[in-house]
Each structure stands twice: as structure tokens, then as C-alpha cells.
């Protein structure tokens, strides 16, 4: 099982080490609205969950994503 950082790094093509809990659209290149859709698709596939649109809109940073995934019962 890959970690959340690995999924994010893979979607945007950045190094996993460069990410932390505060990483967000402001700090990660490619994390624009289209990138966000790609990220959600990748998260849904990788962790086998279907994420509510409310939650999709809330996923503003790696830390926030982790919080939401945990609420879905995912060990991220």
C-alpha cells in the first residue's frame, strides 16, 4: 500500500520528500483545478473509496486530505 504522499507525488510528478502536511495548491506545481480532479480520481482508485463532493472541495492540503480519508476508514 502506498502512502498518501506517494499518491500526491505521483499525480503531480514531485518528489515525496518535498511534501508535508501543509502542502497545498499554493505550494505544489500542477495542483490546479484540473490537477485536483486528477488527484481525487487517483485517491479514489488507490484507496478504493468514493469521496463526497463536499469533501472534495475541502481537500485543500495534504493534512486535510489525510483527515478526510481517515474519516472514510482509510489508513493513509
Amino acid at each position: 500500500m502506498r502512502t498518501l504522499e506517494e499518491v500526491v507525488s505521483r499525480v503531480f510528478g514531485v518528489e515525496p520528500q518535498s511534501l508535508d502536511e501543509s502542502s497545498s495548491p499554493e505550494s505544489v506545481e500542477g495542483w490546479d483545478s484540473m490537477g485536483h480532479v486528477n488527484l481525487v480520481t487517483a485517491l479514489e482508485q488507490h484507496f478504493n473509496v468514493s469521496i463526497d463532493i463536499d469533501d472534495v472541495m475541502e481537500m485543500g492540503s495534504v493534512g486535510k486530505i489525510r483527515e478526510i480519508l481517515v474519516a472514510y476508514g482509510v489508513r493513509a
Partner: protein, 632 residues
């Protein structure tokens, strides 16, 4: 089991990460071409939308180094930007360097109508028009009445026809309109197809209208989106959630299929249509080794195992109806193989279906080179099908310009593998395409005659060549455009004109477009040559002369030139100017003007200008050609 799967996934993920590192290193050290190649490899390893997007973004930063540019525009009523990275991947795979323009979301009408829009400033060669049924006719989401549906159908037809017409008036681009799909469930449930206001039949009708309207125009196509989405699995290919989130409609899987299918339009537009399929025999056209089990022991027949090979042969035969040539290259003894080709009850492909046959124990690369020479077509038009990975690797290494297909181990996948290739598409099917296979057969007879003739002159006379030359008319345009876009060897300027330009030349009083049809005692060659001439104040400028490789070496090009010369003389032109632009492939044309008495007058931007004074110099038709001239 599961753990093993996870290991495999992990291994693949590591490979992707490693490839990303390779890319970063190459980028950092400024090795741009290699960095592009590393991105090509990366998207093959990881076909996800995220990685395709990453690669697309990186290429913009790297700067382009590739050749063969193509300009692709997308107009849509929903967000189709995510298609671009996938199309980018497909274009690179085909050796193209693409540039994209995606019109702002839902502004397709303004973009088309406004002459100074970003679309026209971009200058596309191909425009994809993707409109969603729900956007064009929102009533479809509730229960529309019969009247609503009739009105909606007429409106949609009018809207699409208008868009295509306006687009075509302002651009020479090929226009590809997506079919309209109804993605929801019918509000009528299972009663839908028994009602006058049923939505599935109505959707059929709407698309039927579009097919009819677009089918009547050479520059416009209807992309079968429903078939494409079906391949991705409708349920998984469309996502309402993506629509709610981002006004997108298709998932990664569907976008990948759509990008791949879109290449069926891009490739023929760019002259990348493959012309010849070379097949192996044992394990490819039938199961088993005929040299060991004999003709009766091979797997080939109406039941499995064997039916999968019959099915595959039928798909190959279907290709010949589009003018694709077949050839055999097999390591075998001819005595073992020929009885199968000639007599096996279940062979679909027979000796006469193959334009060239090489059954021997020599290196396959050598055989392919020889076949290319015999058929007079470039190796870059070849597709190679062989079940043996060693042979495939040999051809990949020795002849990288040949498209070597990774034939799956499971023969039941042969037919779909062949049918999924986007390399055999034509923008129009001409009479010449349908007859091509029989023309190559006649060629073999000609070659036999050549070997038995005493001299070249005797041979040429004995062919009884007839050439007919005429001014081009509207019905010649599809074949002209096809030749202009795929002829490389005998082509003076390699200008790749498209339908709208040729239509304009044919209608223009300042241009003359000539077409040449050739026949001989073995059969018709069809329309095999053309010339485009522009009349200037005191000179006639020959913009392009081309000749199909099938008739090279017969001097029929002289007939074309003689005709232009006659017309120029008649109109008292002071100069006849022939342009020549050298390319990597048109060496056979380099001395065309010189050997007809033209003088090299100068060179501008790589284009040579050769001149001749029609009032003084002479051009004669070859003695062995009976020329018929129609029209002025």
C-alpha cells in the same frame, strides 16, 4: 495471491519513480531530446491521467525539439481540457510534435463566428468539436414531449450544420464532430423503445442527421463517440461526479480511448497511413509449425483451436479492401508452405492476396528491405506482425521505421489487436485504393516482362502505355488530396495541400490543376499523377508535380510537363518556372526539371527555381506512350 499482486504493483511503482528520476536528471543537464524520450517512456510505464498531465506540462517547459508538427484545436460545450495530455501522448507515439488550442469552456459559438478569435489565430489543421447532448438540448434531462423532441432534433441539426459551415468558411482545417450521446437512463425505463417519445431512438435519429450532413462534406467527419465510450465501458467511461465537480464528462479510461481514436483522423491528415502489412505464417496466420505437423496438422478451421486464426485472416483480408497491401515473410521451406497457401480448405488468405512473398531462411530485416524495394513503398509505411518476440526485436532494432506490433501471446487477441491500430485510416476511399491489390499483381507480371525483354526501350514499347491528361474537376479532389499527402519520392515540392485549398485551385482562373491517368496492357493504374500550375503575369509557375511510385520509370511525368508547356505556349507565356524543394525522400525527382531542359535560375528559402522559355525550348512526349488530351 493478493500480496503477490501488491508486490507487482510496488515493483511497477518503483520503475515509474526511477523513470521520473531519469527524466529529472536529463532535464537538469539540458539534454532536451533525451528528456522528451524519457517522458515518452514514463507515460508508457504509467498511463494515468496524472502522469500524462505531468508529461504535457513538462514538455512546455523543455521546449520542443521534434519534427512533424501538428496543430490540434478542441471546441467543446463541457470541459475537455484533460483530453489534451492523452492526445499529446498519442501524438508523440506517432512521431508527431503537437500544438494544442482548447477554446474557453462553452464558448465554441463565439470562437467559430469571430474571425479574430483565438481559434483562428492558432491556425488549426484539425478541429475536434465536442458538444454534449444535455448542453445542446437541456430538456432531455426531464421528460420531453414528442413536440419538444422534434424541435430539439431540428435545432441540433441546424446548430451543428451552422458551426461546420462557418468554421469551414474561415479555416482549412479538417473538422471532426463528436457524436451526441445520451448518458442518463431513460425516464421511460424499459418502455423507452416502444414509445414515440423514447429517447434512445431519438438519439439515433439525431446522430443519423449529423452523419448524413457531415458525410456529404469531404472536410468534415463524425467521430463515433458512442462506440468509443462503449470501449471504455459506458458506466466507467462517463462520470456525473466529474461533471458536478469540474464540468468534465469523461473519466481517464474514456479519455485514453478517445485520444487513441482521435488519432484515426490525425494520422491520415499528416500522411502517416501505413500501406503494407507483413505477416509471418507459423503461429501468426495459423497455429503450429507446418514444417513439423504438415498442412493437415496446423490449427486453422471453424472450431477452436483454429477459429481464432481464421478470424484474424478475415480481418487482414478486410484491410485489403481499403487498399492496404499484404506481404508474407516466413522462415520456412516453400515446399511446406505453398500447399497451405494454395489448397488448405480453411485458408482465407491465398497467394493472390499477397503483393510480395518471401519464404526463406534469411534475416527478416533483409527480406523486408527487399519487399519495400519490390513494392516501391517506404519501410516507414510497413507494419510487421510476427508471433516470435525474437523476430520482432530484430525488426525493431534494425528497422525502427517499421511499426512492429507487440502481438499478444494469446491468438484470440490477434484480431482485436489489429483492429485497434489507428494506422490504416484514409480520409476518403478512392477507386485506386480498392483496386490496389490487383494493381500490384499486374506489376508482378510487368516485372516478368521486363526481365524477358531485350532492352529497356523494347520493354517500354511492349507495355503499350496509354496516358490520359485532363484538367481536374471536383470528383478528382479526394484522390488528389490523398496523393499530395502521401507521395514522398516523386514530389517536386512536397506541399501538403488539403481539400479546401485544392477545391480553390480547381475553381480558380489563376490556377490549373492537371490530372494524369495511366493504363497499360496489364491493366489500369488509375489516377497516378498531378500538377498544380499558377499563372502569373508573364510566367507560368509549376507549384507542384507529383507521380505515384507505381508509375515511376515510365516517363509518364514528361506527359504532364508537356501538357503544361503546350498550354503555356498557347498563352504566349515568356517563362515556365518549375519549383523544386529537396527533402530527405524526393531524391528521384531532383533532376526532373534539368532533364527536361530547364535551367536553374536561383534559390529562395530552400526552393529552387528552374526556368524554360516555351517560345524557344521544346518538350516532346515519349515515343512509347499514347497520349490522349481532354479539355483545354
Amino acid at each position: 495471491m493478493e500480496e503477490q499482486g501488491d508486490h507487482r504493483k510496488k515493483g511497477a511503482a518503483d520503475e515509474v519513480e526511477a523513470q521520473r528520476l531519469v527524466y529529472r536528471e536529463l532535464k537538469a543537464s539540458g539534454r532536451t531530446a533525451e528528456a522528451h524520450a524519457a517522458l515518452n517512456r514514463l507515460v508508457e510505464l504509467d498511463p494515468s491521467g496524472g502522469t500524462a498531465t505531468f508529461a504535457h506540462r513538462e514538455r512546455a517547459k523543455l521546449g520542443e525539439v521534434g519534427e512533424r508538427p501538428v496543430r490540434i484545436a478542441i471546441l467543446s460545450s463541457y470541459v475537455l481540457d484533460p483530453l489534451v495530455p492523452f492526445l499529446d501522448v498519442e501524438c508523440r507515439r506517432a512521431g508527431l510534435t503537437p500544438a494544442f488550442y482548447v477554446a474557453p469552456f462553452n464558448q465554441y459559438t463565439q470562437e467559430v463566428l469571430n474571425q479574430s478569435s483565438g481559434l483562428y489565430a492558432f491556425g488549426p489543421e484539425i478541429v475536434f468539436v465536442a458538444l454534449d447532448l444535455e448542453d445542446l438540448f437541456p430538456a432531455v434531462r426531464r421528460v420531453p414531449s414528442v413536440d419538444d423532441l422534434a424541435r430539439g432534433r431540428a435545432e441540433i441539426r441546424g446548430t451543428v450544420a451552422g458551426l461546420v459551415q462557418e468554421l469551414h468558411a474561415r479555416s482549412t482545417a479538417l473538422i471532426v464532430v463528436h457524436e451526441l450521446t445520451f448518458t442518463g437512463s431513460s425516464p421511460h425505463g424499459i418502455l423507452d423503445n416502444r414509445r414515440g417519445d423514447g429517447l434512445s431512438r431519438w438519439t439515433e435519429d439525431v446522430n443519423h442527421d449529423l452523419a448524413e450532413d457531415l458525410g456529404a462534406q469531404a472536410h468534415a467527419f463524425l467521430l463515433p463517440l458512442r462506440q468509443v465510450l462503449g470501449r471504455a465501458g459506458n458506466e466507467r467511461g462517463q462520470s456525473r461526479k466529474l461533471f458536478y465537480m469540474a464540468r468534465m464528462r469523461h473519466t481517464d479510461g474514456a479519455l485514453r480511448e478517445l485520444a487513441s481514436y482521435s488519432m484515426r483522423y490525425v494520422k491520415p491528415l499528416k500522411g502517416l497511413t501505413r500501406k503494407c502489412v507483413v505477416v509471418d505464417l507459423d503461429g501468426t496466420l495459423w497455429g503450429g509449425v507446418v514444417g513439423e505437423v504438415g498442412p493437415d496438422g496446423i490449427q486453422l478451421g471453424p472450431v477452436a483451436p483454429g477459429i481464432e486464426f481464421v478470424d484474424f485472416q478475415e480481418a487482414l483480408l478486410n484491410l485489403t479492401k481499403r487498399g492496404i497491401l499484404l506481404a508474407v515473410c516466413s522462415k520456412n521451406n516453400p515446399d511446406d508452405v505453398m500447399p497451405v497457401l494454395r489448397e488448405h480448405k480453411h485458408m482465407v488468405l491465398r497467394e493472390e492476396h499477397f503483393a510480395a512473398v518471401r519464404i526463406n531462411w534469411r534475416n527478416k530485416a533483409e527480406n523486408l528491405r527487399e519487399i519495400a524495394e519490390e513494392l516501391n513503398i517506404g519501410l516507414d509505411s510497413f507494419v510487421f506482425l510476427d508471433d516470435n518476440p525474437v523476430e520482432r526485436e530484430l525488426i525493431r532494432q534494425m528497422l525502427p521505421q517499421v511499426l512492429t506490433i507487440e502481438l499478444p501471446r494469446d491468438a484470440s487477441q490477434y484480431r482485436p489487436t489489429l483492429e485497434n491500430l489507428s494506422d490504416f485510416e484514409l480520409l476518403a476511399l478512392t477507386k485506386e485504393d480498392e483496386q490496389r491489390a490487383s494493381q500490384y499483381r499486374a506489376n508482378r507480371q510487368r516485372q516478368a516482362l521486363e526481365l524477358s525483354s531485350g532492352s529497356l526501350d523494347d520493354y517500354l514499347h511492349s507495355l503499350e502505355i496509354r496516358a490520359e491528361i485532363a484538367r481536374a474537376e471536383g470528383h478528382h479532389v479526394p484522390r488528389l488530396v490523398q496523393m499530395l499527402n502521401k507521395t514522398n519520392q516523386f514530389n517536386t515540392t512536397t506541399r501538403r495541400y488539403q481539400t479546401p485549398e485544392i477545391e480553390r485551385f480547381v475553381a480558380s482562373p489563376d490556377h490549373r490543376v492537371y490530372v494524369l491517368e495511366v493504363a497499360d496492357r496489364f491493366g489500369e493504374h488509375g489516377l497516378v499523377g498531378s500538377a498544380i500550375v499558377r499563372r502569373e503575369r508573364d510566367a507560368w509557375r509549376i507549384d507542384n508535380v507529383l507521380l505515384s511510385c507505381r508509375v515511376m520509370g515510365l516517363s509518364v511525368e514528361t506527359v504532364l510537363l508537356k501538357r503544361i508547356y503546350d498550354a503555356a505556349r498557347l498563352h504566349d507565356a515568356a517563362r515556365l518556372v518549375g519549383e523544386f524543394i529537396p527533402t530527405a525522400k524526393n531524391g528521384p525527382t531532383a533532376d526532373f526539371y534539368r532533364r527536361h531542359g530547364f535551367q536553374l535560375a536561383g534559390e529562395v528559402d530552400g526552393a529552387q527555381a528552374w526556368t524554360l522559355d516555351p517560345r524557344v525550348d521544346r518538350i516532346e512526349d515519349p515515343a512509347w506512350i499514347a497520349v490522349k488530351t481532354t479539355g483545354e
